[in-house]
């Protein structure tokens, strides 16, 4: 079992939900109100404005990378669905600009369904 933790744009959450259902992965957890920063890449218009010496653009740049609101989407899938889930999330969320997010894949040792006490892959479907 793998846990796929994806940090994505807020406006892509609904599209990601739909795409994951179509890919056969209905189970899904989203965390609201997550703030984050990446390598500090900013919008090109602001950068160009700052280079041209506009004071508003320079003020927007600031010293440190700004915190940007994102959503975290967590999916736990059996090993064989891992690749599908990653490809689906990348296809749905890719705009090609900095800030599209990251996907982390971590191992899960055990899954237990609370209602029945089932363990392992049986608890996932």
């Amino acid at each position: 079992m793998k846990e796929i933790i994806a940090v994505i744009r807020i406006n892509k959450v609904n599209a990601t939900k739909k795409a994951l259902i179509d890919a056969g992965i209905p189970a899904f957890t989203a965390t609201g109100r997550v703030m984050g920063r990446g390598k500090g890449q900013v919008h090109y218009d602001i950068l160009r404005g700052a280079e041209a010496g506009h004071p508003e653009a320079i003020a927007q740049l600031g010293n440190a990378p700004r915190l940007v609101a994102k959503r975290i989407v967590t999916v736990v899938v059996p090993d064989e669905l891992c690749k599908t889930a990653i490809d689906t999330i990348i296809q749905t969320n890719q705009t090609g600009n900095p800030g599209d997010g990251k996907i982390f894949v971590t191992p899960i040792l055990e899954t237990i369904r609370v209602r029945t006490g089932e363990e392992g892959d049986a608890a996932l479907n």
């Binding site: 109100r33 920063r37 990446g38 969320n93 990251k102 894949v105 971590t106």
Partner: protein, 117 residues
């Protein structure tokens, strides 16, 4: 790669984040959480608060940088020189794969030498 999850006091978050930025780790995600620890929450007179607000910081780093990043967090997250109850915890877990969505590429851990095919 390793995921470092840190639970810190809300008033220390920006110190820790600035410390990580200065140490060269700008990428981080912050979530507001509530929780309790070994002290079973906070007792003020007869009132017990067992859900204390904290902030959780997520960051994923190369394997070899773990000790350095943990040290950078510890230096900034402690209250006073000695530290106090409620300063938080750091959890480190394994991350097998990392992808950047904008390029769709899998990120390699820079600390692991690439095998020639």
């Amino acid at each position: 790669m390793l995921m470092i999850r840190t639970i810190v006091r809300p008033e220390k978050v920006y110190d820790v984040m600035q410390g990580l930025l200065d140490a060269g780790y700008p990428s981080i995600t912050k979530i507001s959480v509530v929780g309790r620890g070994k002290q079973r929450g906070l007792r003020v007179g007869d009132v017990v608060y067992d859900e204390i607000p904290k902030e959780m910081l997520f960051t994923v780093v190369p394997n070899t940088d773990k000790d350095f990043v943990v040290r950078a967090i510890l230096d900034n997250a402690k209250s006073g020189a000695e530290g106090k109850f409620g300063d938080g915890k750091i959890f480190v877990s394994a991350v097998e794969e990392v992808y950047t969505i904008s390029t769709g590429e899998r990120e390699a851990d820079p600390s692991i030498p690439v095998k020639e095919a």
